[in-house]
């Protein structure tokens, strides 16, 4: 919010005014509460100000905000501190001030939540208005003359701040918000230097909101941001404002945990230290942390995150603003999985001895053993599986290496047998995450977006709230946090819709922007081609794919999936694992190990001692997403990069480097020695993975695919994720996620 600059600006100004006016006020004996000296004597201040000093040059908009005029005729002109700005009709005074480059202090106002107008911190003076107006709730009117820097506005802020601090405890030294607290910053910038309140401060009972959010309700200033977030964005109406007057408090009334998958975001929106992170409590101060702007890999959304680390330790994960992906929210899994990065890590290369126990060895020995075994087995018996957290570079290296060894059985877990990688539109969220907001009818097929991709679900919920979008859902009974019509549980319902006999078909057909979302859990089904072709029939007959709108989507489950299909990680035979003699698991933990023959040699390369390790003969330690540079494509086909935030653990190495070294030991040198070279290789296979941070939509629509006539299996769809909090090796190692799944999941 740029409050740092605000503070310094206010302080510089204050310093200069004190210097100028100390002499004239030496004789005033009355100790006034107003700390800005010019307020003591407004008349003389006004008289001094009459010879107009030249206005400083206009300021750039706050946060480089660009104003979008939906209709140029609706532009109105307002004056902020003497400068004229043009804003669209319907903007509030506060937004107009932001366009003019004036950051108005605020607590309750949040651009993504409804307007409450109850903190009164954003008071500004408006000419011809009898009293200061709350700028967040006041619509800007043509010709309005807004003054944000006048004695009246300053006095109003100072007064509001005094009231807010009246009941706010003075525990900043032991408060986790200290250093990034809006109240702290704004009281420095706009508050008085003393308070007049001498009574006892009030105290409020702390609430138990679960294992993620710590509450110190005495610090609460009743801005109601968390209440509005819970009911508007998260869709769980748990929090409310109880009581009245000075007895008012935020709470759930009945003892109840906050069972939202987005609950961690209330920590960010709380302007004070009332809601803080429970796992992060008393761990670090925010100014000690190094922020690294990276990407989340726990689901296929690719939320933009900042990894805050201190030394070799990841201390916390916070969201980064990206309007196209996650706005400014992230799911609880993304935010709190970080303690899994410190537990159950693989440190050294290890070989399982004859006694069945692992023994730490040197890299050279481990690679020699693997190369030896690889040369003994037949090329078609070599199988490689990439895990759900693999980056594109390592998957490229794995595919190149195994191809050089003569095998073409490389796939990525979660894609099922015989994945269709020919048409990109067949596995991407073609509408785009941000554009889902504009859809007005959703058909969710075998997907529970709330657990599969919480941020996508937040978009669907937004569409349901703002355009009253209708949602039809086919799959097992589930709890989505918006109203939906449960159409059925299995593919037969889909068939009915395709034949046009189902009532929901007309809803799709009559919709302006219909969106069909197919869950990637379907990829595991035998009859997926038949189901997908039925979905395509629906799309064709209901006109879901148009030049200006592509509403046929697949919602992927894992971070690696989109890139793996882009790179063509498709196995030659879908029974490859049953005949494998040499299995290379690159972080793959969800492969069904019962199918692997007992005499197969299994290499596990990864960062966590998870399910894959139990069967492994050799372990190669790799670095996790927080420790390496890697490219990930999210479910809408947007390539993004992780950045190393902390050093790797023990003797671990980046995935692609391990494979590169192994290729040399095996005598089939891969032709790249640096990440740049690997990316040059990727350019020849999937150039879209190199256009960073940009969504590369699929070129051809799925409709050009020939229709497949196959029988569908009437088995109902299964939920693809059983436990939202534990989906991969990192989250399974996390203690916080374990607490969440034991306390928050409904049994």
């Amino acid at each position: 919010m740029g409050l740092g600059s605000l503070t310094s600006r206010a302080m510089i100004r204050r310093a200069s005014t004190i210097l100028n006016t100390t002499r004239s006020h030496n004789f005033s004996l009355v100790r006034s509460i107003v700390s800005t000296p010019e307020l003591k004597n407004t008349a003389s201040a006004a008289a001094e100000a009459t010879p107009d000093p030249p206005l400083p040059p206009p300021r750039p908009p706050v946060n480089n905000a660009r104003v979008h005029f939906p209709n140029p005729e609706d532009a109105i002109e307002v004056f902020v501190d003497g400068y004229s700005v043009k804003v669209p009709k319907g903007f509030t005074v506060l937004q107009a001030c932001e366009v003019a480059g004036v950051d108005i202090p605020r607590f309750c106002y949040h651009s993504r939540l409804s307007i409450a107008g109850n903190c009164r911190m954003c008071l500004v003076e408006v000419e011809k208005s009898p009293k200061p107006v709350a700028s967040c709730a006041m619509p800007a009117l043509p010709g309005m003359k807004i003054k944000t820097d006048t004695p009246i506005a300053k006095k109003a802020r100072e007064g509001v701040m005094e009231f807010l601090l009246m009941n706010h405890p003075l525990d900043c030294p032991i408060c986790d918000q200290g250093g990034e607290c809006d109240l702290q910053d704004q009281s420095m910038a706009f508050g008085s230097d003393r308070g007049r309140f001498t009574e006892m401060k009030r105290s409020v009972v702390d609430k138990n909101l679960g294992p993620l959010v710590k509450t110190v309700m005495t610090r609460c200033i009743q801005c109601t941001r968390c209440v509005r977030f819970a009911s508007e964005v998260a869709g769980v109406e748990d929090l409310g404002i109880l009581g009245r007057g000075s007895g008012e408090e935020i709470g759930t009334y009945v003892e109840q945990l906050m069972t939202s998958e987005l609950s961690g975001n209330v920590i960010d929106i709380c302007p004070v230290g009332a809601l803080t992170s429970k796992p992060f409590a008393f761990k670090a101060r925010n100014w000690e942390l190094k922020g690294t702007e990276s990407i989340d890999v726990t689901d296929a959304v690719g939320s933009n995150i900042r990894i805050d680390s201190r030394g070799p330790e990841v201390m916390r994960i916070t969201p980064r603003l990206n309007e196209d992906v996650n706005e400014e929210w992230i799911s609880d899994k993304t935010r709190f999985c970080y303690d899994g990065l410190k537990r159950q890590r693989l440190n050294d290369p290890m070989i399982r001895g004859s006694d069945g126990r692992f023994k730490a060895v040197s890299w050279r020995d481990a690679l020699d053993v693997i190369a030896e075994v690889m040369h003994k087995v037949k090329p078609e018996e070599i199988v490689g599986v990439a895990g759900k957290l693999s980056d594109a570079e390592s998957m490229m290296a794995l595919k190149d290496f195994l191809n050089k060894m003569g095998s073409n059985n490389i796939w990525c877990e979660g894609n099922g047998g015989q994945p269709q990688a020919d048409l990109r539109s067949g596995y991407l969220l073609n509408t785009g995450i941000a554009d889902l907001e504009t859809a007005d009818v959703f058909l969710l097929i075998g997907t529970q977006p709330r657990v599969e991709a919480a941020m996508v679900n937040a978009r669907i919920r937004k569409a349901v709230r703002s355009n009253h979008a209708k949602v039809g859902y086919i799959g097992p009974a589930t709890d989505l946090n918006y109203d939906y019509e449960h159409l059925g549980t299995g593919p037969q319902t889909l068939q009915e819709i395709a034949e046009g006999t189902h009532s929901f078909f007309s809803a799709i057909k009559n919709a302006k922007n219909p969106a069909i979302v197919v869950g990637a859990g379907l990829f595991e089904r035998e009859d997926k081609d038949a189901i997908l072709s039925i979905v395509e029939t629906i799309a064709k007959s209901a006109n879901v794919i148009r030049p200006d709108w592509n509403g046929l989507n697949v919602l992927l489950l894992n971070a690696a999936q989109a890139a793996s299909l882009d790179l063509g990680l498709v196995p030659e035979s879908d029974k490859s694992i049953e005949s494998a003699k040499f299995l290379y698991l690159m972080g793959a933990d969800d492969v069904n190990m019962d199918k692997v023959p007992s005499d197969a040699f299994v290499v596990y390369q990864g960062h966590h001692g998870d399910q894959g390790v139990y069967r492994a003969n050799v372990i190669l330690p790799a670095s996790a997403f927080s420790e390496k540079e890697g490219t990930y494509a999210n479910t809408e086909g947007r390539a993004q990069q992780t950045v190393p935030a902390v050093p790797t653990v023990g003797d671990a190495r980046d995935d692609w480097k391990i494979i590169r070294a192994l290729s040399e030991t095996a005598g089939v040198n891969l032709p790249y020695d640096s990440l740049i070279d690997v990316r040059e290789r990727i350019r020849t296979v999937a150039p879209n993975l190199l256009s960073m941070d940009e969504r590369e939509p699929a070129t051809f629509s799925t409709l050009i695919k020939p229709e497949i006539k196959k029988e569908i299996n009437p088995v109902p769809f299964k939920p693809s994720i059983e436990n939202f909090y534990m989906t991969d090796s990192i989250t399974r190692a996390s203690k916080i996620m374990a607490q969440c799944s034991s306390q928050l999941l409904k049994k």
Partner: protein, 254 residues
Amino acid sequence: MFARRAAQRLLEIRQVFRQSPQASRSFSSALNFHLDTPDNNPNNQWKFSETNNQKVKEILSFYPTNYKQSAVIPLLDLAQQQHGGWLPVSAMNEVARIIEVAPIRVYEVATFYSMFNRSKVGKYHLLVCGTTPCMIRGSREIEEALLNHLGVKRNEVTKDGLFSVGEMECMGCCVNAPMITIADYSNGSEGYTYNYIEDVTPKRVVEIVEMLKRGEKPPPGTQNPNRFKCAPEGGHKTLLGEPKPPPCRDLDAC
């Protein structure tokens, strides 16, 4: 030393488990959060009675069907009358179910208004006005007399469950100060009355309590036999003639 600490601890524990814990600043009779007790927990079944169901339908018919939540206050009031003057959490949940909102939205309303009691009250809930005019005219003595006579503290219920005494902000009848209100929940929502007893004295409130104990209905309104409604004692003293218009500036002269 040990005994004293143990006694203190016991007191603290009792404080937590008291029926109506007293928050230092709560205006109504209960805390701003709910503590489960055997007669007040979400697992209890609570339903509107047969006759009240008709009233619920009538109340809902006052509002457009897409604004059902507007009925929250009348429904809570009806539930409170039916449940002997207070709202258990299950009754609030039932109201939330009827008006199709999340329960927390009903809790918000019920905790906001001090006339919704969220802990047990007596069949006769006596509310003493404590605002300035009544206070000047001796409301504190009246409350003291009531509490002494009944042997309870404020917001406590007598052992026989008949009476409880609460405080209320201005009842808007300052001309007849001091005054109390009797919220009569003894006959459910059908026989519910809410009467002002005005111009009371510490002696008179005790008499009124005794009348209620005997099952008599005290006469509502002023208790001063020399007054008629709000008129001054001994008949009118002002406004005896034809009222004169207020003096105005002579606008033509300006």
